[in-house]
């Protein structure tokens, strides 16, 4: 787990990859032989001509096909196969070049030692699906569009530090960073690039005709979309990388998780992505014939967010006591069928910055009571504890309709009731829950699954910086209103250097700090149950991508 | 069952009784009604609402709801075109359907509702012709046009294409008549055909019916409660009360010398245009409940001539008082002789 190589060693198979897999070995026990993600690791005799069709089932519908625009997680399932990035994240967090010829490092001169000057060499042999060659001009156009104030950009943070973009040659581009920003390579690893020659002709970049018939550099090209049902992609034979080996890739939208599972069961779907198979169906799914079912870790952690600005949560003892009273084991073992991994950190344990040495929570209602007693929270006549007129009473909210989370919520309600804390459930539709209610810290406590990282990068400034409290005019997502000068300093330290060792040290400290202060009560790191039809080879999970169809160019039917 | 009978009445109803099922009980509506009708003759069936006159005619036409909802006994012998006499009440359904609308036809009280609102007049008239005569639509419509002219509707060709709602009440009744006459029936039953019409139109329809009868020689059963109309159109009269015939005979004897007190009351209560003044004459009381009929003469409770015995004791028989003049009253001869004994019965709220 503890990797301290810097980006310069990212390319190529190495020890780190093997270690990485070792860590997840338990989860892969049932997966059978796993095909590697590197071209060389593929099956011995890849088919010459793409053939066959694979259907990816998703519980949300991809609808945005201009990859630079504001979009959501599910849209990326299409981007990964339709578009290219400069480089991609490997499952171990290292980068593999895609449109770039190599990963820029200090060693190869791609990045200056101070991290301010970048020079990226591009592959010369890449062509857009319409046959137009891909050049440095395309990259320049994309970088500019991302920060165009008129454009509804999917991400500005990071890109807005880029200055003086220069096209050195059709295969080389250079720029300067306003200040050193360590997560930027990670950001670029999920910045899919669109074709300049088409996008620049759009009458309105926010209403692109392009999205009806997108053109990329990915292994598959656009075929058709049946709204509400599926998107069909066809193999792009001029793809610059390995593959594709499938002739057709269908990304099917099945809005209901149970129906999605049923379709996987009946064979209508070859691979379940996004939220995967619900844990309730895990046991049953394992017994299915000709299906490979495996839990794979995700970067998302389940948390109980406490709004620390509220009087009731101001007291650290309360946060600590509530955490002690959580029957984590029951939640994980019973409600989630043992699939997720208990965690104490906000980072996934696969991250190079993960701190494995945080104190372990254990279910201890008596300890929690003692702690509250000691802190002066005395039980009132109705059993609810009170201190200085503040009742230990709060609401807990999450997205209405998330069954497992609602079950956990109800268990928590019972757990906390036992120690004299009254929690009321007040769930809201997603559009309400995650609107101002969440962003402007109007909630009291919330159950939320968050990926605190920036792509594969462990920078969590937006969640823990005191400058990131939207309720106080900040621009980030520090919705628990966590304020700690110490954390601010550590975040700054971690983001302003490209040296991974230095960064890691800062982030280890930050994790310890967050674990101590508990603005979030960490429950577990998600594991998603992926299902693949037996015979579909080349499938590889990747915790650093939003979607595990990141390498569909490698998929093939046995 | 068909037997040749070259002469005699075209329609001969005998011993007709009808009962309606009400839950488990059968409520009697018509008892033992009999009459005969000669070709070219008009028989008026007179009575107040509930007297059973319409039920009698519907029963003869087999248009009442089928058993078990109704129970019909007796016979109705129709002399058909082929000379055979058939009992309408005993024929199988299909055979009856072939006669109905062909040899025996019927028109109804409400010309507003008796025509199908969604079909054109022409088609409705032609329908019977097509069914009974097997005519094609075009030929049937041609015949229908002639019929429309015959019942006195101007501009027949255009009216053929009209819908019922486009016609006035009088015109609709004419259409009904045209429809009934399409197959030249031997018998036409007209169930209160003028009741819903204004007097001026009523007069037109009566004239029309009389004229048509003269032309075709059909027998006409004319059901009405209006004694004025009876006087205008009928050859013979049959008065019904509470489901029974109470008096039957030629129109002149029955209306000028009625023997049954009910008939007398009925005639007396018709208001006249002669401005004679004084109170209008009425029959006290109301018709009896068919579920709980009085033990004797059904009219006795309202009759000013009734005596406890014999009137209340048993239902009197239908006697032939004079030649061709029948009456259902024990005291008809005493009353005819001027005996007005018997106290007026006070009116009761049931």
């Amino acid at each position: 787990m503890s990797q301290d190589h810097d980006v310069s060693h990212a390319a190529g198979p190495n020890r780190r990859r093997i270690l990485q897999f070792g860590a997840a070995a338990g989860a892969f026990a049932v997966a059978g032989p796993v095909v590697g993600w590197m071209p060389a690791a593929g099956a011995a005799t890849p088919p010459v001509k793409p053939k066959g069709q694979a259907v990816i089932g998703l519980s949300q519908e991809p609808t945005v096909f201009q990859p630079l625009k504001l979009h959501i997680e599910v849209d990326e399932a299409v981007y990964m196969n339709l578009f290219g990035t400069l480089w991609r994240s490997n499952p171990d967090g290292s980068f593999a070049p895609d449109l770039a010829a190599e990963i820029p490092t200090v060693e190869n001169g791609g990045v200056s030692a101070d991290g301010l000057h970048w020079r990226v060499k591009l592959r010369p042999d890449v062509k857009w699906h319409d046959g137009t060659p891909f050049t440095a001009e395309d990259v320049k156009y994309n970088l500019a569009l991302l920060v165009d104030p008129k454009f509804l950009s999917g991400r500005r943070a990071g890109h807005d530090l880029v200055r003086d973009v220069t096209v050195v040659s059709p295969t080389e581009i250079a720029w300067r960073m306003e200040r050193p920003y360590a997560p930027y390579p990670a950001i670029l690893s999920w910045t899919w690039l669109g074709p300049k020659h088409i996008l620049e002709k759009e009458a309105d970049v926010n209403k692109p005709a392009f999205a009806q018939n997108p053109v990329g550099t990915g292994p598959f090209r656009w075929s058709e979309r049946v709204p509400g049902d599926h998107v069909t992609l066809k193999a792009y034979e001029g793809y610059h990388g390995p593959g594709p080996f499938l002739e057709t890739l269908v990304i099917k939208y099945v809005p209901d998780l149970t129906v999605l599972y049923t379709q996987f069961q009946t064979g209508d779907i070859d691979y379940i992505g996004l939220q995967g198979i619900t844990p309730d169906h895990y046991d049953e799914a394992k017994t299915l014939k000709d299906r490979t079912v495996m839990p794979v870790p995700k970067a998302t952690t389940e948390n109980l967010a406490l709004n620390t600005a509220l009087p009731v949560f101001k007291d650290r003892a309360v946060r600590e006591a509530l955490y002690m009273a959580v029957d984590k084991a029951s939640i994980i073992e019973q409600l989630y069928y043992g699939l997720p991994t208990p965690t104490e950190s906000y980072l996934p344990m696969q991250s190079w910055a993960y701190n494995p040495d945080l104190p372990k929570q254990s279910y201890d209602p008596d300890g929690a009571k003692a702690l509250l007693d000691a802190a002066g929270w005395k039980p009132g006549p109705d059993g609810v504890r009170v201190k200085d007129g503040v009742r230990l009473e709060f609401t807990n909210s999450t997205t209405a309709g998330n069954h497992l989370r609602e079950q956990a919520q109800q268990l928590l309600q019972q757990n906390w009731g036992d120690i004299g804390a009254r929690m009321t459930i007040s769930n809201l539709p997603p559009a309400v829950m995650w609107g101002d209610y969440w962003m402007l810290s109007k909630f009291e406590s919330a159950m939320v699954g968050l990926d605190f990282m920036v792509g594969p990068d462990p920078d969590a400034t937006d969640y823990f910086s005191s400058q990131a409290i939207a309720a106080k005019g900040g621009g980030g997502q520090n919705t628990t209103q966590f304020v700690s000068p110490e954390a601010d300093a550590l975040l700054k330290e971690g983001a302003s250097t490209v040296d991974r060792a230095e960064r890691k040290a800062a982030y280890l400290k930050l994790q310890a700090l967050v674990r101590r202060e508990l603005p979030y009560l960490p429950l577990f790191q998600y594991a998603m149950v992926q299902g693949v039809k037996t015979g579909l080879e080349g499938y590889t999970p990747n915790i650093n991508t939003q979607e595990n169809c990141w390498n569909a160019n490698q998929w093939r039917w046995a | 069952m068909a037997r040749p009978a070259p002469t005699g009445p075209v329609l001969d109803v005998r011993g007709l009784s009808v009962g309606f099922a009400d839950g488990r009980a059968i409520v009697p509506a018509v008892h033992d009604v009999g009459f005969s009708l000669a070709a070219g003759e008009t028989l008026a069936l007179v009575g107040e609402s509930g007297s059973g006159k319409s039920v009698t005619s519907l029963a003869a036409m087999r248009l009442l709801p089928p058993a078990p909802r109704t129970r019909v006994t007796g016979s109705a012998l129709l002399r058909c075109r082929d000379g055979a006499v058939r009992d309408l009440l005993a024929l199988p359904d299909a055979a009856m359907r072939r006669l109905r609308g062909d040899e025996i036809a019927m028109i109804f009280q409400e010309p507003m509702t008796s025509l199908n609102p969604v079909h054109r007049i022409g088609d409705q008239i032609a329908e019977g012709l097509r069914f009974h005569r097997g005519l094609h639509r075009r030929d049937a419509l041609k015949r229908a046009e002639g019929l429309i002219e015959r019942v006195g509707i101007p501009d027949a060709a255009r009216r053929l294409r009209a819908y019922p709602h486009e016609l006035s009440g009088g015109m609709r009744q004419r259409v009904m008549i045209a429809m009934a006459l399409g197959c030249d029936p031997a018998v036409l039953i007209a169930d209160e055909p003028t009741t819903a019409l204004d007097v001026t139109v009523q007069a037109q329809i009566l004239d029309l019916l009389k004229g048509l009868q003269r032309e075709t020689g059909m027998g006409l059963v004319f059901i009405t409660h209006n004694l004025g109309v009876v006087a205008e159109i009928a050859d013979r009269v049959m008065v019904m009360y509470a489901g029974r015939i109470v008096e039957r005979g030629g129109v002149v004897p029955v209306m000028t010398e009625p023997l049954m007190p009910y008939t007398r009351g009925l005639i007396a209560s018709v208001p006249r245009l002669d401005l004679r003044g004084g109170d209008m004459v009425s029959i006290p009381g109301t018709v009896p409940d068919p579920r709980a009929p009085p033990p004797g003469c059904a009219f006795a409770p309202r009759c000013s001539h009734a005596l406890p015995d014999p009137c209340d004791a048993a239902m009197p028989a239908l006697d032939e008082a004079r030649a061709g003049h029948l009456v259902r009253c024990r005291r008809w001869d005493a009353i005819a002789a001027g005996d007005a004994r018997g106290a007026p019965v006070p009116e009761v709220v049931s």
Binding site: E73, V226, D229, L428, V432, W434, V454, G455 | E127, H165
Partner: protein, 316 residues
Amino acid sequence: MASFLAGRMAQSLVLLVLVSIIGFAVLHLAPGGPMAQFALVPGMSQAQLAAMSHAMGLDQPLPVQYWQWFGRLLAGDWGRSYRDSVPVLAVIAARLPATLELMVAAVALAVVTGVAVGILGAVRRHSVFDALSTAGAMAALSIPTFWFGLVTIYVFSVKLGWLPSGNRSTPGDASPWGYVHHLIAPACVLALVEVAVWSRYMRSAMLDVIDQDFVRTARAKGLTERRVILHHVVRNALLPMITLAGLELPTLLGGALVTETVFTWPGMGRLFLDSLGYRDYPVVMGILMVSALLVLLGSLLADLLGAVADPRIRLG
């Protein structure tokens, strides 16, 4: 006729404006907003969300937003989806055929079955068939459609494996049978309630007609019972059904929505739910307006058809 149409158009316009005001107010006054869907995108910040919100004009006062929306609508511009910037009409047009396909299939099934059952029930009033069909119709009206759909999927897809468990087609399979195969279960589930409704309506319409004078007139002509029933009774009993068909349209649309959610049918109802979830106001408004238009058009069509079929009604 022309003046009738003009009157109805004017009336419909007023209704549509009312509908749009009610819909707009309901949608926009409620908490939440279209930006919430992006909140949990990794690395999303409030600053970015606020900027987008501003760019979309969501921070303007409601009446201004309404007025702008309405103004564009008058110019034929229904706006674009907040989600993917596709014109609303295009979004809806892409989904409407699926919904119509489902509705047409269900209605065809329901009308044929329902009318037949209703006719038989009325003709054989108080028979065993009548009692059973009445009880069956009432039961069908009482079963929650979504539950019935679930059970159908469980039995016919999961257990028996006879029917697909959802969606409109199998990708890669373009055969007509594939489409029909997918259509069977949702169409039957949607039709269930409609069969019940239509059979009840038809039965009572028949009973209203069957005792009328003109039926007796038809019998007096000596027509066969079959012709009396079909030519005179059914013909008249179908008249109110035309109007009822118009009135039934909103229910049918609602039923289609329910069915679409259960069978993951890619129709307008599904789109409605998704768009509601994303607070995609332009699309939600678009669907409300389109469904209101459909309903109004349906009732107008029903009135026109009714007038064609019923000579007594003169439009003018």
